[in-house]
Symmetry: C2
Subunit: 455 residues, 2 copies
Amino acid sequence: MNDFPGSAPASAIGALLADLGDIPVVTDASVVRKRSRDFFWYSPILNEALAGKSADLIATPRDEADVIRVAAACARHRVPLTVRAGGTGNYGQAVPLHGGVLLDITALSAIEWTRPGAIRVGVGAMMNAIDAQTQPSGWELRMHPSTKRTATIGGFVAGGSGGIGSITYGGLREAGNILAARVVTLEEQPRVIELRGDAAQKVNRAYGTTGIITALEMPLAPAWTWIEMVVVFDDFLDAAQFGYEAALSDGIVKKLLSPVAWPIPSYFGALKQYCPEGKSVLIAMVAEPSVESFRTLLGDRGEITFAAPADDSTGRVPLYEYTWNHTTLQVLKAGRSVTYLQCLYPHDRLIESVRQMQEMFPDEVLPHLEFIRFGGRVTCSGLPVVRYRDADRLNEIIALHEENDVFIANPHVYTVEDGSRYKRADADQLGFKHEVDPYGLLNPGKMRSFVPVAD
Amino acid sequence: MNDFPGSAPASAIGALLADLGDIPVVTDASVVRKRSRDFFWYSPILNEALAGKSADLIATPRDEADVIRVAAACARHRVPLTVRAGGTGNYGQAVPLHGGVLLDITALSAIEWTRPGAIRVGVGAMMNAIDAQTQPSGWELRMHPSTKRTATIGGFVAGGSGGIGSITYGGLREAGNILAARVVTLEEQPRVIELRGDAAQKVNRAYGTTGIITALEMPLAPAWTWIEMVVVFDDFLDAAQFGYEAALSDGIVKKLLSPVAWPIPSYFGALKQYCPEGKSVLIAMVAEPSVESFRTLLGDRGEITFAAPADDSTGRVPLYEYTWNHTTLQVLKAGRSVTYLQCLYPHDRLIESVRQMQEMFPDEVLPHLEFIRFGGRVTCSGLPVVRYRDADRLNEIIALHEENDVFIANPHVYTVEDGSRYKRADADQLGFKHEVDPYGLLNPGKMRSFVPVAD
């Protein structure tokens, strides 16, 4: 735990409110408490640890000038500030541990410009709004989380790591996947800093502890007509093996390859009709001109039970909402007796390692893989569904994975250091935090290793 | 060697000519001999082995119906037929070993259709003409040889393997990189066969021995604005190491990464001004929005001496004409005392392996690498420039590479089996040849393992 001295006194909050002037605020405690949550309840451990945590008020800046005013006021009165957008995180990224201001940046959603292959956009822009705007001219974001329809680009960069699209482009931590970030410092005289190239990694998955992002420059990918498919297999390892071959096929353009073991598909609601009893499935998104090659590669190893052009416009449920951490959500809808892990399998003995983990925890850790590129190699991120017994057993399962070279980015802790593991950006985030947040007021308690020098 | 009984008698040629009717033919021996050559002279061994080989006549079909008439006539009179297009191959792919008809298919160059991500085109279409046609609507071929400005799509598929673009898509042998091929059989009643999906691999790098391709369906890639660059390094291994990191960076969109050791760049003609004395270079093509990330990744390890948008329209010399086998050509322009090899380095100890080969043959085998994806892994194809002593020493160098797990696709032999090695398509080409060429008349002698059953 961080040694942050505790929440701001009521007097500081009052003085701060006075400083905010006409910036819209919400002080209704029940609304503030509700907005101070995210999807941390996927973890029974975090559900307990973060229960009752709440900001004192919500401030909703209308533009970057407002952000600067809030930042200055928080610095002046030593009030914590936690940035919040869609609130779709799973580790309490947006949950204030020590009260203060919850900064809702969703109004900063303007597109500054688009060029072929790049976009510059306000931090609060919704990811599906970005795609809807850019797709008609042939472009889209390279990757997005399964929460794309409710998530913002800033929340993804500050609290995510990769997702649908990472099978082609790797994660946000790879060079070129964040082109630039503009941040406001938490100082009495806030500065605005442009971070370009690998410097932008200083805000990647830092949970908003290293400056308030106001704008992002992101690379765009060609927007293919994606065909989403359900492929069913008798055996989970067959799904994994085929997914691996498809992942390695650089001639097949794809955005998603997600093998999911039975009985997880039995929880798949509307999709269940395409998931026969007892079968494991692979959910895929393949570019339309590559579908024939994908089918040829599949041969008679599995059966395609569903294939249609992807459509995530209003009123449609895209298949990616059965993948990544939405897979877990589908099972959680039936009850909170399960939770999940985040794994990275070794790329050089991938399928053996998957088999080994499957055999080690039969009926307890249900396999769910996501093929990704990581450091230029094809491997799997795993988000297995875990039948939850207690924290001790969960930690034992984690230790057994790590002993077998399956790394765990623990989603049952809320600090950047403990939770990020292989998802951690390669940048001096701690050093940068000293520059931009000398009083340690940005989402305090989340960067465990940070101790403020200033007072 | 193939046990083909030898060239067709003059009487057969005469009867065949009569059957060709109004199909344009050339019988002038000096013209026919000239067109019966390709760039096999890169190899001193092939230069000797293939000296004086010539067709008896050139036939130039105007359409597929003409191709069928020529094929029927060749079958009827048992006259060999060798397909020839741009003649840019390096292993005598288009050199008739046993005379007969040289089939010039360059008139079959019409684009049948284009769709987002795919094109169907006549076999003789020039690759740069295809790109010129598709680039305005945002598409281009996924990959091309360094001879793109004179090569046809059919020649590339029948005699090539990969090239500029293979760092992203792998080679032609990867699933999805040839969508379909239409072939005419060499029978008295020729059939027209559509090969789709992996069946299209039956004509890949078969040197025209497995049917006469008349049309190809090829995948298209997004046409980026490519920035071509020369990056210079003090040490060749630094160029290789940086190229490897860039190759592994899935967030950086690229088409070419070619480390070339000094003194090879001293032969680079117009490009020499950007290649300082004693420095090794890396030639790169990077998508415009990824250039900043590429520069960030480079840091101060190397210096970019040239950067400009790629332009291979008439009158311009694109940087890729200093890469792949054009690198060798640049050195050969100064004299025929050198030749080259084609290597595949092991992906799991790539840089060590490159270092090992460099140290094994100092000043004799000058390193030149091309980063590619091969089976989903980043590795290098090597086309080192070899100071040629004699065939024995060359074979010794080949053996020493193979003993150290560096595979050689020997460019000093002219058969599919001996020359293709790791470039070989994964398809039953021999079995298919029995179906489409029962008399063994298609480019006889090139598929060594084929023995005709029919008479």
